[in-house]
C-alpha cells in the first residue's frame, strides 16, 4: 500500500481533505509523521500538505501574538517578538528537528514529546482551527479533546504576551543534555499584582498523556506572595491528582519523586 501525497494551495482545502478521510494525516514538519511512514505505519495511506504562506507567519494582534501552526521551532527561536518562548523552542530536539518541527505538530505530539504545548498551556493560549470561523478553542479544552481533534487542522495559536519577562518560566528536565527527551517539563505563568500572585497557571509536560494543568499547585500559589513558605507549600502538592506515566525514560515513581524538587527550583528561580 504505497503512501499518497496530496498538496493543496489553501489551508481550508487541506482541512476539508483531512476531515473527509480516516486514513489521511497532515504533514507539518514531518518529524513525527515521517518516522511513522518509515516504520510502515498501517493506520494511514495519505499525506496531506498545504503551501499556504499564512500558515507559517507570526503576527502581533491585540495584547499578544498569532503564531501560524506551521511556524517552526527555529523560527520561534529567531523571532524578536517571541523572546519569551525562545527557551521553550530551543529545548525541543536538536537543530535539524527544530528546523522542521512545527508548533502545530507539537500540539499533537504524544507524551513524552509536547514540551512546547505545555508552555502554550501555561500561557493560556487559544487554538484556531482552519476552516472554522469564529473564536478559537481554549488550549485546555483542545488538549483535553485532542483525540477528537485528530482530523482537525490547526491554523494558528493565539498567545497572550506575559506582563513581564519574569512572569513566565519554563524548565525541561531530561537526562541527556542537550537534545534529551523530557522526564517532565514545567511551564509556569506567574503574574503578580501588588506582590501577590494572581491568575497563576502551571503546566506539566510528560506527566500525563497530554500536557496538563496542575491545579493543586495553582491553588497553593493563588493570592500568595512568591516566598519560601509558598514555594514549599506548592512543591508539597506538586503531583496531587496526577498519575505520571512509566516509560523508557523514567518510572512513574521517579517522576513523582522529582516533580516537587524541579517545581521548587523553577519557582525559586534557582539556576541549575
Amino acid at each position: 500500500m504505497p503512501v499518497r501525497v496530496e498538496t493543496y494551495e489553501r489551508l481550508d482545502e487541506a482541512a476539508r481533505a483531512l476531515a473527509s478521510s480516516r486514513t489521511a494525516r497532515f504533514l507539518g514538519g514531518g518529524t513525527l509523521i515521517m518516522r511513522a511512514v518509515n516504520a510502515g505505519d498501517q493506520s494511514f495511506d495519505t499525506i496531506i500538505r498545504a503551501r499556504d504562506a499564512n500558515w507559517s507567519a507570526i503576527r502581533a494582534e491585540g495584547d499578544g501574538f498569532v503564531i501560524g501552526a506551521g511556524v517552526t521551532m527555529a523560527a520561534v527561536v529567531a523571532s524578536r517578538d517571541l523572546v519569551f518562548l525562545a527557551p521553550v523552542a530551543r529545548s525541543v530536539g536538536g537543530p535539524a528537528i527544530r528546523n522542521m518541527a512545527t508548533i502545530g505538530g507539537n500540539l499533537f505530539a504524544a507524551s513524552p514529546y509536547g514540551d512546547f504545548a505545555a508552555a502554550l498551556l501555561a500561557l493560556g493560549a487559544t487554538v484556531n482551527l482552519a476552516g472554522s470561523s469564529g473564536r478559537g478553542i481554549p488550549i485546555d479544552d483542545f488538549l483535553r479533546d485532542r483525540e477528537r481533534h485528530a482530523t482537525s487542522l490547526v491554523q494558528s495559536v493565539s498567545v497572550p504576551r506575559p506582563r513581564d519577562a519574569s512572569a513566565f518560566r519554563f524548565v525541561k528536565v531530561s537526562r541527556v543534555k542537550p537534545k534529551g527527551i523530557s522526564l517532565m517539563s514545567i511551564a509556569a505563568l506567574l503574574p503578580q499584582m501588588g506582590g501577590r500572585l494572581q491568575g497563576a497557571r502551571i503546566a506539566y509536560g510528560a506527566m500525563a498523556p497530554t500536557p496538563i494543568r496542575v491545579t493543586a499547585v495553582e491553588r497553593a500559589l493563588e493570592g500568595q506572595s512568591l516566598d519560601i513558605a509558598t514555594i514549599e507549600r506548592a512543591a508539597a502538592v506538586a503531583t496531587e491528582g496526577i498519575d505520571p506515566p512509566t516509560d523508557a525514560l523514567a518510572s512513574s515513581w521517579y517522576r513523582r519523586e522529582v516533580a516537587g524538587v524541579h517545581l521548587k527550583r523553577l519557582l525559586s528561580a534557582e539556576r541549575r
Binding site: M1, P2, V3, N38, A39, G40, Q42
Partner: protein, 556 residues
C-alpha cells in the same frame, strides 16, 4: 592530553617502539569525517529486494499456526520465508569454537522465547511492501508464562525458556550447571576472619546503540558464489555462521566488511548475513536485511544484566582472607556469547587482589528477555563494578581508607592468581598511587612506598595448602569436549537424551581435595569421587600452562 609516567617499570619497557606510546590516527578517520567511508548500505544493486521479519509480540509463546496466504498476495511480495526454509535452523554462535549446544533458530517455528523473535521473513520489492505484508501475516499465538528474573528462572517449576537447556542454565564442560572456581577453602577463611561482609550487586542490560543499525546485503556472484556486504564486526565469524546455517561451503561466500558504523560488541551476532544470503538463494536476486531503529533497540542483543552476591572474610586491618561469589548472568532466551563472558569473568576473579581463598559459582541463566551478547569488556565490567563497590563497602565497615585498602590487598608481581597463573605486570598499586596524587588524596607513608614489584611471590606464589572442591550442580546427559556435535553426525546438535538437570541447589561442600606433597606426586582422588578434579599446580607448572580463552588448560 596523555601523560606518560615513564619512571614506572622503566626497566621492563622497550622505548624504541614505533607505534606503542605514540598517538596514531585511525586509518579510516578521514573517510568518516568527510562522509566518504562506504557502509554496507551504500552499496547499490539493481533489483534489490528487502527483507522484513514477522516478530513475536509476546515474551514467551507457542506458535500454533502461521497463515501467510493474505501476505503472499500482497503487491510486491516475492517470497515469504519460514523456519522450514532454513537448511540448518538451529545454531549457537560459539559452536564454531566447539562450545555449547545449538539452541537458537534463525527463524523460529514452534515457540518464541523473547519479544521480537522472528517467526517469518517477508522478501519484497520495497521496504514498504515488505512491511505491509508483515502486517498481513496471521500468527496464532498461545501465550506462555514468562520469566524475567535470573533467580526466578532457576527455581523449580519456572517456565522452560530454552528447551535445549531445560533447567534454564547453560551447561559448562558437560558437567555442571554453572562455572566453578575453587581456590583454597573459603569456609575456613570465613572462620579465620574477624568479620564477614556481604553485598548484592545488580547491573541492567545496556544497548550498544550503533549509529548504523545492523544489517547485510547479499547478491549473486559469478561461479555460484554470493557476495555479502555487511556491518558485521566479526567478518569470518559471520561467514562461518552463514555457512553452517545454510549448509553452504564457506568458499561460496564472499564477505566484504571493514566499515562498521558503530559496533561496541553489538555486531557479532550474525543474524543478518545468513538471512540476506538465504533470501538471495531463494529468489536469485540481491537482498537486504537490516534492523530499523526500533528493532535495533528491542531485538538487537544488549550487554546482559548481571547479579552478583559477594561474601568476604575480612580482618580488622582490612586484609581480605576469603572471597565468595555467586553470580547470575542474564543470557536472555538464548546463549549467544554469555556462556563465554562467564568463563572470562571467572578467570578474572577475585579481581586485581591477592586473596588466599576464593570461591565462585557463576550461572548463565536463560530468561524470556532479549538475548544478550558482547559489549566492550563483557564478563569483566559487571563483576568489576560489584567488586569495587564491595571494596568501598569494606572500607566503610572496617574503617580503612578505600585506596589504602586496595593497595593493602592488591596483587603483586609473582603472586598466584585464583585461576592458577602467576600475576605479572600488575601495577594496581601504582595506579592507586597516581590516582591518589591526582586527586590530592592523602596516603600513608607505607602506601606511598608500596610497589607492585616488591613483596609479591614467595609464599604468595604458592598454591593453597588445600582446595575444597565439590560437585554441586552436576548434570548428566551432557558430554564434555565436542559436545556441540555429541556422538552424532554434524548438523544434528541435540543432547542425546533430554538431560535431567538438577535445579539450582547448594549441597554441602564435599569432598575435599588434599594436594599431593611434592616432589612425590600421588594420585589424590579416591575411587568414590565421580570425577577427579584437575591436579593442583605449582607456580612452576603455571608458568608453562595457561588457561585458554574458552575451554581449558593448554600449553603455552
Amino acid at each position: 592530553m596523555i601523560e606518560f609516567r615513564k619512571e614506572y617499570f622503566a626497566d621492563e619497557r622497550d622505548d624504541n617502539l614505533n607505534e606503542i606510546g605514540k598517538p596514531t590516527q585511525r586509518q579510516d578517520a578521514l573517510g568518516h569525517v568527510t562522509g566518504r567511508s562506504p557502509y554496507y548500505d551504500d552499496h547499490l544493486f539493481d533489483g534489490l529486494l528487502h527483507i522484513r521479519c514477522v516478530r513475536s509480540p509476546h515474551h514467551h509463546a507457542r506458535v500454533r499456526r502461521i497463515d501467510t496466504s493474505e501476505a503472499d498476495r500482497m503487491p510486491g511480495v516475492v517470497r515469504i520465508v519460514l523456519g522450514k526454509d532454513v537448511p540448518q535452523n538451529l545454531n549457537t554462535l560459539l559452536s564454531l569454537l566447539d562450545f555449547g549446544l545449538d539452541d537458537e533458530p534463525l527463524i523460529s517455528e514452534k515457540k518464541v522465547s523473547y519479544k521480537g523473535e522472528p517467526v517469518a521473513a517477508v522478501i519484497a520489492e520495497s521496504d514498504r511492501a515488505a512491511r505491509d505484508a508483515v502486517a498481513k501475516v496471521r500468527v496464532d499465538w498461545e501465550e506462555l508464562p514468562a520469566v524475567f528474573d535470573v533467580e526466578d528462572a532457576v527455581k523449580p517449576g519456572a517456565p522452560v525458556v530454552n528447551e535445549i537447556y531445560p533447567g534454564n542454565l547453560f551447561v559448562y564442560h558437560g558437567k555442571y550447571d554453572h562455572q566453578k572456581l575453587r581456590f583454597g577453602d573459603v569456609e575456613a577463611g570465613f572462620r579465620q576472619a574477624d568479620r564477614i561482609i556481604e553485598g548484592r550487586y545488580q547491573m541492567s542490560p545496556i544497548e550498544q546503540a550503533p549509529t548504523e543499525t545492523c544489517g547485510a546485503i547479499a547478491a549473486p556472484e559469478t561461479n555460484d558464489r554470493y557476495v555479502v556486504y555487511t556491518s558485521t564486526q566479526a567478518l569470518f565469524f559471520s561467514l562461518d555462521t552463514t555457512s553452517k546455517l545454510l549448509k553452504m561451503p564457506s568458499n561460496r561466500l564472499h564477505f566484504i566488511g571493514g566499515t562498521v558504523g558503530g559496533g561496541f560488541g553489538g555486531k557479532v551476532d550474525s543474524l543478518h548475513e545468513p538471512m540476506a544470503v538465504l533470501g538471495t538463494v531463494l529468489t536469485g536476486r540481491p537482498c537486504k536485511y537490516m534492523f530499523d531503529r526500533e528493532e535495533e533497540m528491542q531485538v538487537g542483543a544488549p550487554r546482559g544484566a548481571e547479579r552478583w552476591y559477594i561474601k568476604d572474610g575480612v580482618m580488622n586491618d582490612g586484609r581480605i582472607v576469603a572471597r565468595k561469589f555467586i553470580g547470575y548472568f542474564d543470557s536472555g532466551a538464548y546463549t549467544r556469547l554469555s556462556s563465554y563472558a562467564i568463563i572470562k569473568g571467572v578467570g578474572h576473579l577475585p579481581g586485581p587482589y591477592t586473596i588466599p581463598n576464593v570461591y565462585a559459582d557463576v550461572y548463565c541463566v536463560f530468561t524470556n528477555r532479549t538475548p544478550a551478547t558482547a559489549m566492550r569488556g563483557f564478563g569483566i565490567t559487571g563483576v568489576d563494578f560489584a567488586i569495587e563497590a564491595h571494596m568501598d563497602k569494606i572500607s566503610y565497615e572496617v574503617g580503612v581508607d578505600p585506596i589504602e585498602l586496595r593497595i593493602l590487598n592488591a596483587y603483586r608481581d609473582g603472586d598466584m592468581k585464583a585461576h592458577r597463573r602467576l600475576a605479572k605486570n600488575t601495577a594496581l598499586i601504582e595506579c592507586c598511587q597516581v590516582a591518589a596524587e591526582k586527586a590530592k588524596w592523602p596516603l600513608s607513608r607505607q602506601a606511598q612506598q608500596a610497589s607492585s614489584l616488591r613483596d609479591g611471590g614467595g609464599a604468595r606464589a604458592e598454591m593453597p595448602p588445600h582446595t575444597a572442591i565439590d560437585h554441586n550442580g552436576a548434570v548428566t546427559g551432557f558430554t564434555a569436549g565436542s559436545y556441540a556435535r555429541g556422538n552424532k553426525k554434524p548438523g544434528q546438535a541435540q543432547p542425546v537424551s533430554m538431560p535431567q538437570m538438577p535445579r539450582h541447589e547448594t549441597a554441602p561442600v564435599t569432598p575435599r581435595y588434599e594436594p599431593a606433597a611434592r616432589p612425590q606426586p600421588q594420585p589424590a582422588p579416591v575411587a568414590t569421587q565421580p570425577a577427579p578434579p584437575p591436579p593442583a599446580q605449582t607456580a612452576a607448572d603455571a608458568r608453562r600452562t595457561r588457561f585458554s580463552s574458552i575451554s581449558g588448560l593448554r600449553r603455552r
